[in-house]
Symmetry: C2
Subunit: 291 residues, 2 copies
């Protein structure tokens, strides 16, 4: 394609995005929205970057747990370390069945350290780790068409926020480099923090609500004081956010050759997209290139 969004194929998805942006940026139109009110919110895992074969943050956490077991083998007797050492993917994959153990493992790994110390660990991970099937640094697994969309919206005076169900302080470390989004515009799930002696310490608790499902519009309101003008997601956890937006975009993972094809966890979102007229971007048909 020539013109805006060059990595998008010509088709309904690209056209509907361009039409929507024109509708809110053309002063003569009744649908015009002043620049300061143009808020866009993007889910991260599966919307801006690849979330398969496992969440990027899961790789980070698993590496940390493995390093902890290497330093103290007695940890391997207990979950979640046991499942990791034994390669028990079924146990590790059943996140919802093992929330207490997983949160405990996170608390042991990162509770009590400063926010700055956590950032140092995240930065080291992004320097060292490679995506298990693509072989590239994780900072290269952002979707090119979506990166173009972020830049296109910024160029049209939208203020873009990342709204991740995953860890806010994890994504913030690479948000500027990968997406051009500064850390104050990364919204997400975070630990409860404590201030003492001039510094900020992570606790073992998690801030409620988490930034997923109905928690997403709550996080967006508390951070921005607005509902999004445009929102983009890819899974059922994004439905509430998309319901509050004037324009909803759903990324559909249907390209088994160039990425991963899966509807799991997005069944309701795909059904809602039809009911509510959200724009569905097929990675197979609408993305001319992916990475």
């Amino acid at each position: 394609m020539t013109g805006p969004l060059p990595s998008w194929s010509d088709g309904d998805a690209r056209t509907s995005i361009l039409d929507f942006v024109a509708s809110v940026t053309t002063p003569e139109r009744s649908t015009f929205v002043p620049p300061g009110e143009r808020i866009a919110t993007f889910d991260n895992d599966g919307t801006l970057w690849c979330e398969k074969p496992m969440y990027v943050q899961a790789d980070f956490i698993f590496r940390k747990w493995k390093a902890m077991v290497a330093a103290d083998p007695s940890l391997a007797a207990e979950q979640p370390f046991k499942a990791l050492v034994e390669g028990d993917r079924a146990w590790l994959g059943a996140i919802l069945d093992h929330v207490p153990e997983l949160l405990k493992g996170l608390g042991v790994a990162f509770g009590g350290i400063t926010a700055d110390a956590f950032e140092t660990e995240v930065r080291a991970f992004f320097t060292d780790a490679r995506h298990p099937t693509l072989g590239t640094p994780y900072t290269s697994v952002g979707y090119r068409p979506m990166l173009e969309l972020l830049a296109y919206l910024e160029a049209n005076a939208f203020t873009v926020f990342i709204c991740t169900g995953g860890g806010r302080d994890f994504v913030r470390v690479v948000g500027e480099e990968m997406y051009g989004i500064p850390r104050e515009r990364v919204i997400g799930t975070g630990p409860t923090l404590e201030y003492r002696d001039g510094d900020l310490y992570r606790t073992t608790g998690v801030e409620r609500p988490i930034d997923d499902g109905p928690g997403k519009p709550v996080h967006i309101w508390t951070r921005t004081g607005r509902k999004p003008l445009l929102a983009a997601g890819n899974s059922d956890g994004d439905i509430a956010m998309l319901e509050t937006a004037r324009f909803g975009l759903l990324v559909h993972h249907d390209d088994a050759v160039r990425e991963f094809a899966y509807d799991g966890g997005a069944e309701q979102a795909l059904a809602k997209a039809t009911q509510r007229g959200w724009t569905v971007a097929s990675m197979k048909d609408d993305f001319a290139s992916i990475f």
Copy 2:
């Protein structure tokens, strides 16, 4: 004064601000900070606008409670409505002794309404109400020297946030008009919100921590991912925020003629300012004009 900050008198406070800003914006200096990392945070009550003879938000809440009693006189049998109807300033002023009753009164007044409906009430208040001694709209009770400082920092590529111990969703309504600060850069205490049926509803709960004392650096980190480069406050509730900043500014209310003179609630902050080398701005000596 000519040059920047014209409503500041020539003196140590103005000089130290100008010197600090020069030190972080001059690329050749070892103290230089890149623009994207220049975060400034300002307390609101008593730092940016007048908080005497009562908090602006207290006037808003009291008017609402009075209107509720007028509509349903039976409310006057219970606190906090009883104290208001009877003009019991001692009871209303002893906030810390009456937290449960005051929170209950707030919940009855604003719990269960949408975030948008709350905003409509706040907007009506700012249109109708006048400051009890100055006689001007509350949107005129911002301190001119501090407004100049906000603009000066923005002109030097700082990103300025308001960090209020009071209600975030209250201050957001006038932040743009009064301070040029858009709503996504207003951090503050807020209610627990619930998402349902496409909209956001206030509950009777309050988000923890509140944005005061040790909660201020926590709020600032969760919203911005940074500690402030410059922070400004006026009371003991701002100490933790000031401790995390490279440059601390404390507004001292010592002008009984043009504003109000009081150290109550700022005793520890004033002592800390000396220990830690924070810049103290005397309203009497450093502010050439106030409103």
